[in-house]
Assembly symmetry: C2
Homo-oligomer: 291 residues x 2
Amino acid sequence: MLRYNGLAISPPYAAEVGGDVHDSWNDAPQQLHRPRDFVPKIVVSSPSPVDLAPTLVRKLQRFARLEAADIDALSAISETPKTLRAGHILVSEGYRPGNVFLIEGGMACRYKLLPNGQRQILGFLIPGDLCDIHFARSGRPDHSVALLSNSQIVKIPERRIAEMLAAHPRIERALALAEQLDVAILREWLLNVGQRNALQKLSHFFCEMHVRLDKIGLVDDDGSFDLPVNQSALADTTGLTPVHINRTLQRLRNDGLVRLHHRRLLILDHDRLAATAGFDDEYLQFQQCKR
Amino acid sequence: MLRYNGLAISPPYAAEVGGDVHDSWNDAPQQLHRPRDFVPKIVVSSPSPVDLAPTLVRKLQRFARLEAADIDALSAISETPKTLRAGHILVSEGYRPGNVFLIEGGMACRYKLLPNGQRQILGFLIPGDLCDIHFARSGRPDHSVALLSNSQIVKIPERRIAEMLAAHPRIERALALAEQLDVAILREWLLNVGQRNALQKLSHFFCEMHVRLDKIGLVDDDGSFDLPVNQSALADTTGLTPVHINRTLQRLRNDGLVRLHHRRLLILDHDRLAATAGFDDEYLQFQQCKR
DNA sequence: CGGAAGATTGATAACTCTCAAAAATAGTGG
DNA sequence: CCACTATTTTTGAGAGTTATCAATCTTCCG
């Protein structure tokens, strides 16, 4: 039952169990294992002063009709992103971050650890996602956030966020709605982990990431996208075991549904994948401004 | 794997699979099974005009320092509660409710259904809980809410809620924080269902309900409280099977930890229960105004 | 090339599920 | 108030999915 053997818990997470990371922004990368290169496939954002936080603006426009002043404000709070390495811990459970982080490129995940080292991944943060308005405003975070790949991260001081929200109610509303979507995803995950079998869990996760990344233009024409996870991370996402993930992955591969190689997922037959998952993207369609 | 045999899905839920309930406020009770009496043990609220929505005010005061005007506003929107029967569906997935419901007494649960009838319970609503600000403001609900026991429910039109929130930012903030707590609970549930074994899952759920109900004064001196669930509901809460819940419950009982009788849970040894669950109530302590 | 992390495989165990039936409990109606 | 019925709880046996353990192979990076 316990799984604290170096497989499930990669060094950066294990290190944190007794750690006391506060603001690791300028730290040298913490991970002991080899860093994986972040290959910005679609978003080739070498951010220029005129095009700051493009991912955030694009995302929020799905939830509210932003005006020029709003977009200016968003640009004003967005510093140039900094590239942090895979394994970097943005938010550590119990320690008030004091900052909000914006994922400009790359990927991160929320997770909780059990005292014995078991890890449950609670969600994935993709470009445009903010982490975390509420950590900053209230209490200590009840979970941690770490980078899955080398990622471009914008750090925004808590105070500037607060000022912006106060001055721009449309942004505040858009963020609140965006968060509602995150909660809807969380609910679907509970259903996924609680009720479906291994094959369904894994394929459902793949379908969800496909839809989410497709919305922000990170899926290639051939239906492939970056998914910087190893099989342990998939295990901690679905509540399964790395070994069982391996075997389930093989089934999906042999059935001609997906291929996961070089931290990229290729969906070969989207319809059949969705069918085996029992996937219905309705819960992801929550947004105010449909186009 | 499938479980659509009358055990897991009680009639009211099964009936809803193909149903189209919108506003069932004045409907005759929908459930086919025998209604369970709601015995208001602690809250003996025969609500008088001067003491409306006491549960909501008390709850929100945990999250913000409300002033007299705020409390007046809360009283103003609160009609006299109506007693609805166990099984009543307050919110039905996909159908915009148009109202917000306040649980004044009794208990309800959020849940999602799979096409084959499997049900995952997503959370419990206890007195003082509101359901659901966000359903009203945006999109269609992605899950349903049903009463677990005969309950006293206040119906509040969407528009009145919106007006109140606009006029009383402290209330809005308190509600937002209250919702953050709900999300923290949801995250802990995902950890629970994903990573713990049957014994831990069940005892963790019991610990959580104990803390939540204790905060609002619904736990007796002897450590017992109303928990209007059958073993199928516990199964759908934890992602287990009714049969396995039964056996796990027996273990807890034989170990002298809890007794569940007449829809009341008696915790015999709180410390040992928390120990077997690996329960840490930190995630439930999220609140702005500690006293 | 060397070493570490990750993926894969095989054998075995364990937890949890399924099925089916019996016992107990609670609400219904005469 | 008692019999009657539906629901819920309990039990047993057996099956199945998933976990565990341990070794090997592969890949990646320095």
